[in-house]
């Protein structure tokens, strides 16, 4: 397993702080959405077999299977058949559900999502995970001390804002 120690530099950037760009609300929202999407992602890396796609060496699901049952195989269909016939992304499914639910006056997938909490949010340091008192002027990220602020400035701050 190849894991490399990440580098956390600690140079002092406080003086530069004033000059730093302030990220507007829209960008902050966009960034937050991106983070939330990544928290839902299946993989962070590319398919390690991607280069096999064009060759005939691509492993097939069927190779892993014995004959399923003693039944006639005439109705057996490929996985691709179903994928093509029922191909809908999640957003499409949600939209369809909402439209149908409205027409039939029933509760839909979107209706049951939890409301916002009336309790105040807590704030943790993005760097070390302990309680944080301060937030970054540029991007709003929370940090707990100057050391963590430095780390934040040197690593993640504004990197995502592009």
């Amino acid at each position: 397993m190849t894991i490399s120690k990440s580098t956390l530099r600690g140079s002092n950037r406080i003086k530069e702080n004033d000059k730093r760009r302030i990220v507007d609300e829209t960008s902050r929202k966009r960034r937050h959405r991106k983070v939330m999407e990544l928290l839902e992602s299946d993989n962070y890396h590319d398919d390690p077999h991607a280069d096999l796609v064009m060759s005939k060496k691509v492993p097939k699901f069927e190779d892993n299977l014995e004959q399923r049952t003693s039944r006639t195989k005439k109705k057996e269909r490929t996985a691709e058949y179903y994928q093509i016939k029922y191909r809908k992304n999640f957003q499409q499914l949600v939209d369809e559900d909402r439209a149908e639910a409205e027409a039939n006056r029933r509760v839909s997938y979107m209706d049951i999502q939890c409301e916002e909490s009336p309790m105040p949010p807590r704030h943790f340091c993005a760097v070390c995970g302990f309680l944080a008192k301060y937030n970054c002027l540029s991007c709003g990220t929370r940090y707990c001390c100057i050391r963590c602020m430095d780390t934040h400035m040197d690593t993640r701050c504004l990197k995502w804002a592009a």
Partner: protein, 546 residues
């Protein structure tokens, strides 16, 4: 029962069970499938335990000649950098080219052949029509099952709980299912799901693992590609704190005073196949010397905290305990007290140490003091729903619920889906005066005022109270994003900070109620109308990805 004896092709009544004579209970056998997005629990109802098969196909870097379906991953020598093909998106099957081969594998002789048995399979709440169409086609047309029934995993859990505890249909229960993709909170009243009070929290095990991956990658090693390993790290080391503030204080200490920090030996897939906690924090055995050690401190409890406070990562959502309370208070008044006596929690996230205790403590503190609060967590919260399949099959009228292949062919998908969808669902209760509901909300907020956000009793100081007011204002401002028609009213409130908290509370709740904060709506980038007030909107950086 010998499976080979049951072979009658084209039978219209499914498995040929002897007709019930004087028995009160008809016992049908069936293949029960709890089709979770993380693991499929499958087995014949006569078996004591289901077989657990991961609901995914994996690709290994080292083995380029094959794919690993489900539990075949145990044959994989090197599980580093595993690439996952998951059939589900937010808990719903969208990738049929992944789900189908997994089912083919599961229903092969290797795991659990269907033969002539009826199939009972779970589907998530509000399973979308086209997903159901595809399931129908696969099971009836390709697998040629004699008969099938589909229901939600919480239905099975409810049936099992009611049966095991001898509860009549009139006893309401609330089932919390906290799994891989999400957490559902579903009250059952008179044996039916009470749709108005159902809640879904978009936090599940997948999000927690990904978050842990993210913070470890930022603080120690780059493990972004090691979902498989970090999921095990999560299972082995994470727990739910009873008092987060206290826990954080301990975690901040060094040396022997910190009894939270753990060193975790990461697998190298050479000598060590599965990682583990280093028993004595300093000593390493010989074969551990070349291994990479992960140091886990506050990560151990901060990660599961997201279940209780999604706002920790900037999600605008209640936590699991709050949502349960909210759900109970959305039910008709006469059932509320009984609901709080029959709270059942299932799903993989229950397995975090301390989960049940924290859940109980929060529910106890959020629900009215005079109410009796009882929380039941089964010994195995993962297989509880599958077990519920047995309770389902013992229901006297179950046989008539099964949809046969002939019925599918005659009536078509739409009719039979209505049968599945309306089962244990009471739509009549949906149309109700919302006035009462709003009243409940005010009461709910009254309780919340003064509640601590750190788990245990914790006197709120003045600053906290200010923050609370702030957050209410913020909530108000946020909901303005979707429509600025009452902007004036909002500005008014800001200009009079001394205005009665109660008033603001009501106004902000009304706004929340009106918009039911929908993530998808927020996707549309709308220029914020009053920027200056929102500077702290996303205070916590989950960390962007470099």
């Amino acid at each position: 029962m010998d499976r080979s004896k049951v072979k009658r092709r084209g039978s219209s009544i499914g498995p040929n069970q002897p007709e019930p004579k004087l028995q009160k209970e008809i016992n049908i056998n069936a293949v029960v499938v709890d089709n979770g997005a993380y693991s499929i629990k499958v087995g014949l109802s006569t078996e004591a335990h289901p077989t657990l098969v991961p609901n995914c196909i994996m690709k290994a870097k080292a083995e380029r000649k094959r794919l690993f379906i489900g539990d075949q991953i145990n044959e994989c020598r090197d599980c580093s950098g595993l690439y996952f093909l998951l059939p589900c998106e937010r808990g719903y099957i969208t990738k049929w080219d992944v789900q189908k081969p997994i089912w083919d594998y599961i229903f092969s002789k290797k795991v659990c052949p269907i033969d002539e048995y009826p199939v009972v399979i779970t589907q998530p709440l509000f399973n979308f029509n086209s997903i159901q169409d595809c399931m129908d086609e696969i099971f009836f047309e390709e697998y040629e099952v004699s008969s099938m029934f589909r229901l939600n995993p919480t239905d099975l859990a409810y049936l099992k709980y009611a049966r095991d505890h001898n509860l009549p249909k009139t006893t309401p229960c609330i089932i919390i299912d906290t799994g891989f993709s999400f957490t559902h909170i579903i009250p059952y009243i008179n044996g039916n799901k009470y749709l108005n009070a159902i809640r879904r929290l978009n936090v599940g095990g997948k999000l927690l693992t990904n978050h842990l991956k993210d913070i470890i990658s930022y603080r120690q090693y780059n493990v972004m590609e090691e979902t498989y390993v970090i999921n095990q790290v999560k299972e082995d080391t994470c727990y739910v704190a009873q008092d987060v503030k206290k826990e954080l204080t301990i975690a901040a200490k060094s040396g022997i005073e910190n009894n939270i920090v753990r060193n975790y030996v990461l697998p190298d897939f050479n000598n060590i196949r599965r990682g583990y906690i280093l028993e004595n924090n300093s000593d390493t055995k010989e074969n551990e010397e070349n291994c990479q050690i992960l140091r886990l401190n506050n990560e151990r409890f901060v990660v599961p905290e997201i279940l209780f406070h999604p706002s920790d990562i900037g999600m605008k959502s209640m936590g699991i305990a709050e949502a349960v309370v909210k759900s109970i208070l959305c039910c008709p008044k006469q059932y509320q007290e009984d609901l709080s006596k029959n709270i059942v929690v299932i799903g993989g996230n229950c397995n975090f140490k301390g989960f049940k205790e924290r859940m109980m403590a929060e529910l106890r503190s959020l629900l009215p003091h005079l109410w009796d609060v009882k929380l039941y967590q089964p010994e195995d919260p993962i297989t509880y729903s599958w077990d519920g399949g047995k309770s389902l099959l013992k229901m006297t009228d179950f046989k008539s619920c099964l949809v046969t292949k002939e019925e599918y062919e005659e009536l078509g998908s739409m009719i039979i889906q209505q049968r599945f969808n309306s089962w244990m669902t009471d739509n009549s209760l949906v149309e109700e005066e919302s006035q009462e509901k709003n009243q409940e909300n005010y009461r709910y907020l009254d309780w919340l005022k003064g509640k601590t956000v750190f788990g245990k009793e914790d006197p709120i100081d003045v600053k906290d109270e200010c923050e609370q007011e702030d957050s209410l204002l913020k909530a108000q401002t946020n909901s303005q994003d979707t429509g600025s028609h009452n902007l004036a009213e909002n500005v008014d409130n800001v200009q009079q900070p001394a205005a009665d908290l109660e008033l603001k509370t009501k106004a902000s709740l009304k706004n929340i109620e009106n918009t039911i904060v929908k993530e998808f709506d927020q996707e549309k980038d709308q220029p914020s109308s009053n920027f200056s007030m929102q500077t702290e909107l996303f205070p916590f950086g989950t960390g962007s990805y470099l």
